[in-house]
């Protein structure tokens, strides 16, 4: 009998320990009130998320809308789909039919009721845009055979073949739910207007200056949002952004700051600042043109990867720019990522750099590349982390006897250059908005428009299709391991450098926001509250 209280106490202590270790999101009860002021580095071109892909639209505008499903805002890995406008769902046994139960009583900001009709209309716009309207993510939904709204609270999605990533796909932060009547009247309406069901109503947008939203008192999630409103200020210069937070004129910037900027803020504001960090669903890799000598020879490609001391680079570069972890094809820490011990077996990921470099030199010699061989490395003219990575790469390649010249192409002219194939070796990037192999990896298909290195590898294509159809996660993991090995090691089609690292320092009075690997996620601001 005496043991019970002790057991209870131990359990309580254990529970507290666990809670204490997990990054605390809300220590106290959320407090209502206050205006969140944040900085956004760029401005939205138009207001229609189905047609844009810049965070400059998401950050100020996402709070005005809801989506069918969303990524769990309290989950650091950013990989768990939860319902937004969907209350619950069921998946048929053959994994071909998804039936969503839609919430009742959700109102648009003009007072009208939201039903599955609106969801269907919005998805129709995404899957089959009317003439004159673009949909940027149409291709991601190839697997969908049909969508239906049989009654106001049911939405049904039927697939042509099973796709394990479909739920996450539907949780895309870009798939805002619009009002069917407005779309029917004018499919371009949402390019210049705001009308959603989200936690905040639109107040004003002064071009080049700021964006204001205020609390939606009739929001379907009772008690939320906690904030009275928010104000997004557009500041493009990063030093000015830091100054704004440092001067406590702004509270947070939702994309990322660089390590020295974080250090500056921590030093200046001490415990008035909280820093949240996470690996980023973005990575720079080196593309080599497979149709140009000597990069058509996989020995040369492997050599270029072997030359890189990724671990030393990670230590040093993480102090000055937005990279940190050594990663493979999926963000470290997410369900499908390769554990570090396994990763070390791939070419260029081993710890013995002297051995790797010796091997690299040997491969180059074998492939007939002379010592002091010169080529041009094209890089995008963006300060973080492209430029530091470029400087690092060139110095690493110098150590295996390669004389590399760097040429910066202005960011605007970069894509045309890649598409034309006007390069030998160039910096490429892989950025996603949700960590999901189906969303991160299609560019490596032989047929992909984004396959700038123009590699043709049927085995790789097959593996890609297989993992997409695999319904068993363990099976999927196995196939992805093979895919990674072939992409980075055996054929060395591309050279992964270092995973980007996201650093968000914010004023300590901001609570309720959890960092995820994607700066497109978790921007509805309904969970955010201010402690003073």
């Amino acid at each position: 009998m005496r043991r019970r209280p002790v057991l209870a106490l131990l359990t309580l202590l254990l529970a507290l320990a666990i809670v204490g270790v997990v990054p605390v999101v809300a220590q106290d009860k959320p407090r209502s009130g206050g205006e969140l002021i944040f900085v956004v580095p760029s401005e939205p071109p138009s207001y229609d998320a189905h047609q844009e892909e810049t965070f400059g639209l998401i950050h100020p505008t996402a709070p005005h809308y809801n989506t069918l499903l969303r990524v769990d805002p309290n989950d650091r890995t950013g990989t768990k789909p939860v319902g937004d406008l969907a209350e619950s769902w069921t998946i048929s046994k053959d994994a071909l039919t998804y039936t969503f139960k839609i919430r009742k009583g959700v109102k648009f900001h003009d007072g009208s009721e939201m039903t599955s009709k609106d969801i269907k209309a919005s998805y129709d716009k995404i899957l089959k845009p009317p003439p004159g309207v673009k949909s940027l993510r149409k291709e991601a939904y190839e697997a969908i055979a049909s969508i239906d709204a049989p009654d106001p609270t049911t939405f049904v999605v039927k697939l042509k073949y099973p796709e394990s990533s479909m739920l996450l796909n539907l949780a895309s932060p870009w798939n805002w739910i619009y009002k069917a009547d407005l779309l029917a009247k004018d499919p371009h309406y949402y390019e210049t207007h705001i009308m959603g069901t989200g936690p905040f109503k639109f107040v004003e947008h002064v071009k080049g200056s700021h964006w204001v939203g205020k609390k939606n008192p009739d929001y379907w999630d009772k008690g939320k949002p906690y904030l009275d409103g928010y104000r997004a200020i557009f500041i493009s210069n990063s030093a000015a952004q830091v100054a704004a937070i440092r001067g406590e004129r702004a509270m947070i910037q939702f994309r990322s700051f660089s390590p020295p900027e974080r250090d500056q803020l921590v030093q200046a504001l001490g415990n008035k600042i909280t820093v949240q960090e996470s690996p980023w669903d973005c990575l720079n890799f080196v593309s080599m043109h497979h149709e140009k000598k000597p990069f058509d020879d996989k020995r040369v490609r492997r050599a270029l990867s072997l030359a890189l001391d990724r671990y030393e680079g990670s230590k040093a570069l993480s102090k000055i720019t937005l990279v940190k972890d050594v990663g493979g094809i999926q963000v470290p820490g997410t369900p499908f990522a390769t554990p570090p011990a396994e990763l070390e077996k791939l070419a260029g990921y081993g710890r013995d750099i002297a051995k790797n470099r010796a091997e690299a030199k040997r491969l180059l010699k074998e492939a007939g590349v002379p010592d002091g061989f010169a080529f041009t490395f094209k890089n995008r003219g963006i300060p973080h982390p492209y430029e530091p990575l470029g400087i690092w790469l060139i110095d690493q390649w110098r150590q295996i006897g390669l004389n590399v010249k760097q040429e910066f192409i202005e960011a605007s002219a970069y894509h045309p250059m890649l598409k034309r194939g006007d390069f030998e070796v160039a910096m490429d990037f892989q950025c996603g908005f949700i960590v999901e192999p189906d969303l991160d990896l299609p560019r490596f298909l032989s047929t992909s428009d984004a396959n700038y290195g123009r590699h043709k590898d049927k085995a790789l294509d097959d593996m890609m299709h297989q993992q997409g159809r695999a319904t068993d996660p363990e099976q999927r993991k196995k196939i992805l391991r093979q895919f990674e090995k072939r992409l980075l090691d055996e054929e060395a089609h591309v050279i992964y450098t270092l995973q980007w690292h996201r650093i968000v320092p914010h004023l300590a009075k901001v609570h309720g926001w959890t960092i995820t690997p994607s700066h497109y996620l978790n921007n509805q601001l309904d969970t955010v509250w201010l402690s003073e």
Binding site: S238, G313, D395, Q406
Partner: protein, 298 residues
């Protein structure tokens, strides 16, 4: 930024050939500021030429072990975010500054002079069209034109020189034209034409010596501007590129972010730019005073 000058249609010719040493001596005595400017320029030249000999380290090699180190005996001006020696980068950066600075200003002033003289000498239709053309290019702010040109041409050093040179041509042409016009109106030019001298000879023997003064003044004015423009472009990411050493480039990115913890990264390149532009301007200023007869001390 416009180049302005007093209406120098009456600028006299260069002082009579007194012997270079005597002239220099006179210049140093009468115009100490200009002499200081000239001295700095000479030092810059020497440093740039002798860079590989003077610089203690290779300006491009990374050294992550010693990154962001404060000035010390090993590194007099400290190291940057990649462990590269700031002093060595500064020294090699002077090459870029002088190359781009001198290249673009000499080309710009010369081309402008040619167009200005041609415009003044031939007059009539030629003058009208050339003037309109110059007016058009003059209306663009300096940096906007340079920006656009760099976007088109790309940012290798030769392209950078062209991009910076082009906005300078109309400014030089305008001033030189005014000067040449004054000469053109002089009776001896008409007399020479009447006597049957060819165009070329008249231009070379009569007009050119008289526009030397404004030409030199424009040249020195451009020097400072060119260095500033190059550093502005590099700062914006449109100029010289890594891992080359260039002063404006050194002020980009990391230098600003580490301004509090590692100020040496931003302070020294900024000083180098300021000092050289300062020197160019001091020298140019004094040169103008020396060559403009109306400004001579009583």
């Amino acid at each position: 930024m416009a180049i302005s000058s007093p209406p120098i249609d009456q600028v006299g010719a260069l002082p009579a050939q007194d012997g270079w040493l005597a002239i220099t001596h006179q210049f140093c005595r009468r115009r100490p500021l200009g002499a200081i400017g000239a001295a700095v320029i000479v030092v810059m030249f020497v440093v740039a030429v002798a860079a590989p000999l003077i610089a203690p380290y290779d300006p491009v090699v990374n050294d992550f072990g010693g990154m962001l180190a404060a000035p010390s005996r090993a590194h007099w001006l400290g190291t940057d975010a990649f462990g590269r020696d700031v002093l060595s980068r500064l020294i090699f950066g002077s090459r870029t500054a002088l190359l781009v600075g001198f290249g673009s200003s000499v080309l710009g002033a010369t081309l402008g002079a040619v167009l200005g003289v041609a415009s003044a000498y031939f007059g009539g239709r030629v003058d009208l069209y050339l003037q309109r053309l110059m007016d058009i290019f003059l209306s663009f702010p300096l940096i906007i034109l340079a920006l656009a040109l760099v976007a088109i041409l790309g940012n290798s050093i030769p392209n950078l020189i062209v991009a910076i040179m082009i906005p300078m041509v109309p400014r030089a042409a305008l001033v030189i034209r005014a000067s040449a016009l004054a000469i053109r109106e002089m009776p001896y030019v008409d007399a020479a034409r009447a006597a049957g001298f060819r165009h070329g000879r008249i231009i070379l023997r009569h007009m050119l010596p008289n526009v030397m003064a404004p030409y030199l003044i424009m040249l020195t004015a451009f020097l400072g501007q060119a260095v500033l423009l190059e550093s502005s472009l590099s700062f914006l990411g449109l100029g010289v590129q890594e891992p080359m050493a260039a002063w404006g480039l050194m002020l980009r990115g990391a230098a600003v972010e580490f301004a509090e913890t590692a100020p040496w990264m931003a302070v020294f390149p900024g000083l180098a730019i300021s000092l050289s532009v300062f020197a160019f301007n001091l020298f140019g200023d004094s040169l103008r005073d020396a060559l403009d007869p109306r400004l001579r001390t009583q």
